[in-house]
């Protein structure tokens, strides 16, 4: 098919890029110090050029191309495609599976953000205590995030295996369940299980960031509150939470954007099954493209997903860059 971007392609995309890059205006300036080399503009541009060209060729151009593909009927690579207007979008909209995966993505994202926030604060509070081996624990608790997703999939598929897995053996031995649970292949358990496993992976990562924030909370504040007879819970909600809430906001947005885009964890654990009960939008798009080979519909769905996330991307950038401005 023809992959040249037609007249409309990049132009359709420009407003969106412009929007992202101009929206977070406040606090955007990064404080800089200059030496006399740095006042050489040509050298500066030469240095940034390689990465800029690379990203333009592999991200910007393909992104513009996605718009083109979604408005044409690409079936096979190499066969010329024609402009078909909005018909790919119409087809995607009329599919029940698309809407199901939209709803599932919303559930998935909300569950992930809430559990990861609560989990990371909880883990950070545990790690923030005074105990022996502090360095060791704080370094290695992040292990789930260090491991490749394929390792996560093998580890948990083994542990949760209905016949040989240790989880079912343990639960049955404790008398909690009578027969093994099919954690990853029953329609009731698959989505909660995959959600928990994704949280298992990201919670330590965020908890390290929360931990760093916790250490900036002045100790005197806690002591003063304790002197005034505030309970542990009161001290947590009145002293700790307000002082770490800016970082929690960044984490929530981060977790939101990452969860929405997660593909490999779900795919490697369940392939979107059973009966597409774990099919979120990235899985839907991937199977549309590389299982059914409907590239144009996949591109249309990915553009819809992008537009859905755009607001949050802008919000995230705004927050990130504002934090930046305030922090320096």
């Amino acid at each position: 098919m023809r992959v040249e971007v037609p007249y409309g392609g990049p132009r359709l995309f420009l407003p969106i890029i412009w929007l992202i890059l101009t929206f977070p205006r406040k606090g955007i300036r990064v404080k800089q110090v200059f030496s006399s080399i740095s006042r050489d503009p040509i050298l500066g541009l030469l240095l940034v050029l390689p990465l800029l060209l690379w990203v333009a060729a592999t991200l910007l151009y393909p992104a513009a191309n996605a718009v083109y593909i979604s408005f044409s009927n690409v079936r096979y690579v190499g066969v010329p495609a024609e402009f078909v207007g909005f018909s790919n979008f119409e087809r995607v909209f009329s599919e029940r599976e698309f809407w199901n995966s939209v709803i599932r993505t919303v559930i998935w994202v909300v569950l992930n953000v809430v559990l990861q926030l609560v989990g990371s604060v909880g883990v950070a509070l545990v790690l923030n205590q005074e105990y022996k081996g502090k360095e060791f624990v704080r370094n290695w608790v992040i292990l789930p995030w260090v491991l490749p997703t394929i390792v996560l999939a093998i580890v948990w598929k083994w542990i949760l295996d209905p016949t040989h897995g240790v989880a079912n053996h343990l639960l049955m031995w404790l008398g909690i369940i009578e027969r093994p649970i099919e954690f990853l292949s029953s329609t009731t358990w698959a989505l909660p299980t995959v959600t928990l496993l994704n949280c298992w992976r990201w919670t330590p990562y965020f908890s390290i960031i929360v931990l760093a924030a916790l250490q900036t909370v002045p100790r005197e504040l806690h002591e003063a509150a304790a002197m005034d007879g505030a309970s542990i819970w009161k001290r947590f909600t009145r002293v700790t939470l307000p002082s770490i809430s800016p970082i929690l906001k960044v984490i929530a947005l981060n977790s939101f954007l990452w969860s929405a885009n997660i593909f490999d964890t779900i795919w490697l654990l369940t392939r979107g099954g059973p009966l597409s009960h774990t099919t979120t939008l990235p899985i839907y798009i991937y199977s549309k493209a590389f299982r059914s080979f409907r590239f144009s519909e996949a591109a249309a769905a990915s553009i819809l997903m992008f537009l859905g996330l755009l607001f949050f991307v802008i919000l995230y950038l705004g927050t990130l860059l504002k934090e930046e401005g305030a922090g320096r």
Partner: protein
């Protein structure tokens, strides 16, 4: 009371460790058990230690080939990322020219950009120019995924290098390019090493783009190769677990060396000092 408090403190730390580190340790132990033991009632320690699964991995599966492919893609991606990322970060954070703020925003934006959008176009584009199913295609995609984030991490490191040192080198008669390569880069080396390792590990783990851009047995990377065996009905658990241990080793070593720098970079980006 005091004893109770200490007990609960260590109990909570132990629970956290068991939840997050336990599963990998469990798999590490299990990879040493013979198959008969794996399929029976689980015991913590193996009754008999065997390395047969590790041997089978190399005999029956093209594991070594996948390992080499992953390694190649990882090293090239990391090197390109470290070079291009360091240059770009120097330019954006240290140089003064119109549009540098725009470029900085551009890199940050491309880091949070939903990458699924470019999956299909990249696949079609690489098919068309004939580099699909080659390591080159995967390197191209991985650098795009990782490098913008590296620019962001380098910011904290580059701010730690005083400008006065550069000035001194210039006064001593070094050229601008010499100053960057001989004075600045060595001083920022820990940061550049950290992003090299990080890029290698991200490339090592990446699945989505790898599964579409490299598909034949000669070019598959580890995650793609192993994922294929994970979907079979009768999974050979021993072999899979041995494989997962070997895949996990480079990230664990890399993290042991560079983790501290990396976590510093992460937290410095988000937390106000």
């Amino acid at each position: 009371m005091k004893v109770m408090r200490a007990f609960f403190k260590y109990l909570s730390v132990a629970v956290v460790l068991i939840i997050f580190v336990g599963p990998m340790v469990w798999v590490g132990i299990n990879s040493l058990k013979p198959t008969s033991e794996l399929l029976g009632i689980p015991t913590f320690f193996p009754k008999r230690v065997t390395f047969e699964h590790y041997r089978h991995l190399f005999d029956r599966v093209a594991f070594l080939k996948y390992y080499c492919n992953s390694f190649l893609v990882g090293v090239v991606t990391a090197t390109v990322t470290a070079l291009a990322g360091a240059f770009a970060a120097y330019s954006v954070f240290r140089c003064k020219y119109p549009g540098r703020h725009f470029l900085f925003k551009f890199f940050i934006s491309s880091y949070v950009f939903p990458k699924v959008l470019v999956l299909v176009p990249l696949y079609i584009m690489f098919s068309k120019i004939g580099i699909i199913d080659t390591p080159l295609a995967l390197v191209a995609a991985h650098v795009m995924l990782i490098a913008p984030f590296s620019v962001w991490i380098l910011r904290a490191f580059f701010q730690g290098v005083p400008v006065e040192i550069e000035e001194a080198a210039l006064i001593d008669g070094a050229s601008k390019v010499q100053t960057i390569f001989k004075i600045f880069i060595p001083l920022a080396a820990p940061g550049i090493a950290a992003i090299w390792i990080n890029a290698f590990l991200m490339s090592w783990s990446e699945y989505l783009f790898a599964s579409t851009l490299v598909v034949s047995d000669f070019t598959k990377t580890l995650p793609v190769g192993m994922a294929y065996f994970l979907q079979e009905y009768a999974i050979e658990w021993g072999v899979m677990m041995a494989g997962s241990v070997l895949i996990a080793i480079p990230p664990i070593i890399g993290f042991a060396f560079a983790g501290k720098y990396f976590v510093q970079g992460l937290t410095a980006g988000g937390v106000k000092e």
